[in-house]
Symmetry: C2
Subunit: 197 residues, 2 copies
DNA sequence: TGAGCAAGCGGAACCGCGTTCCGTTAACCA
DNA sequence: TGGTTAACGGAACGCGGTTCCGCTTGCTCA
């Protein structure tokens, strides 16, 4: 379950040590560049930070989306895992849903440009789009379903559309003190509730 | 009230006929290019459509935002004017608000890339941002205020943040059949309502 | 009316950025 | 240790926005 390289994957002959090292350096450099300049940090900057040539970036991460996914994979997985956990520990499904959405929003607004990249229809971001959707839509759907079954929210909400809407509301947050994405997402979530009480 | 050039503005000596003609051609060409390729249509394409050189674009419209504003000015003005009109003719302030927001959303989703440009923090779009805000925030504030006074919605909603949120929800609409911006905006507006009934 | 002037024009040139390509380097294995 | 080749680096290319300057042409005034 643990060692992917030595055990199971004999088809891939084992990577060279310098290739592994460079891949790790690139991940670190990209993470730093993303913090400093957002997820559209220039390719050359990332390469320079890592001390490698630009060609090396493209060999390891053919599209920018591959690099972004690699950098944020851990956090996305954690977010996905938090869904069922919240459902188990929260008082109501709606509280779990609200809490989980809060996590997602916190993640997006602290990654400059990530929300924008997620909504981009450029072909290069297809992988990014697909990864986030694959991991998070099922979790969101589960939370929505639980809350709908409990009669707390309307039952005609599509998880994909909701996630996309939330992502959209996070676009540009952090650049504009007059705009509070969390607040707007809160209103959107309030709009999900059934009218009683 | 009508002739700006001949009457009031004597400081500007009167433009040459070819300059006026080119400006109009550029507006037409830009409008066509925006429909065909979105508001980020390449400058060279717009120039080619208008049959002018790229330098001529920059002389008339120093930034892309100036061009966008010029192309859509009429529609934005119409949208701004519709606010008070709806307030006067609708049954309730909330109905007026919902109707007006519907107009705004229809406008945004039919202009490819406009919502994106509106949220962009690039310096070149500062003019665009400022123009939309100047014209629409007061209208939105008036509608919000009327609805809040009537006790239909919460009274702690900022017109600027709401418009920005709505604009955000319209980003990418039209490229994705699974995402319905109007629906999401509807949920957001539902979230404005006070809890009773 | 036609000569002089400057407003206005066109597009070459420049810059920054993403992406590709290939000659060179150095890990790995026998 | 020497051969093989994965992997590297960075020059080169394409594209789009922006600037700049020599030429054109509409307008004015004698």
């Amino acid at each position: 379950m643990a060692d992917i390289d030595s055990g199971s994957a004999q088809a891939a002959p084992r990577k060279r040590a310098d290739a592994l090292r460079n891949q790790q350096r690139l991940l670190d450099a990209a993470a730093a560049a993303f913090v400093a300049a957002g997820v559209d940090a220039p390719v050359r900057d990332i390469a320079a930070r890592a001390g490698v040539g630009v060609g090396t970036i493209y060999r390891h991460f053919p599209t920018r989306a591959d690099l972004i996914v690699a950098v944020y994979r851990h956090q996305v997985e954690a977010c996905a895992a938090a869904g069922p956990a919240l459902l188990a520990t929260s008082g109501t499904p709606h509280a779990a849903l609200a809490g989980w959405i809060g996590l997602f929003v916190d993640f997006l607004v602290t990654k400059h440009g990530l929300a924008e990249a997620l909504q981009s229809d450029a072909a290069a971001f297809e992988t990014l789009h697909a990864y986030f959707l694959d991991r998070l839509v099922p979790v969101c759907a589960q939370l929505l379903d639980a809350a709908a079954t409990a009669g707390e929210i309307r039952s005609d909400i599509d998880a994909y559309a909701l996630l996309r809407g939330i992502g959209n509301l996070c676009v540009g947050a952090g650049n504009d003190p007059r705009y509070d994405a969390r607040r707007m997402v809160g209103l959107l979530v309030a709009g999900l509730r059934l009218d009683h009480d």
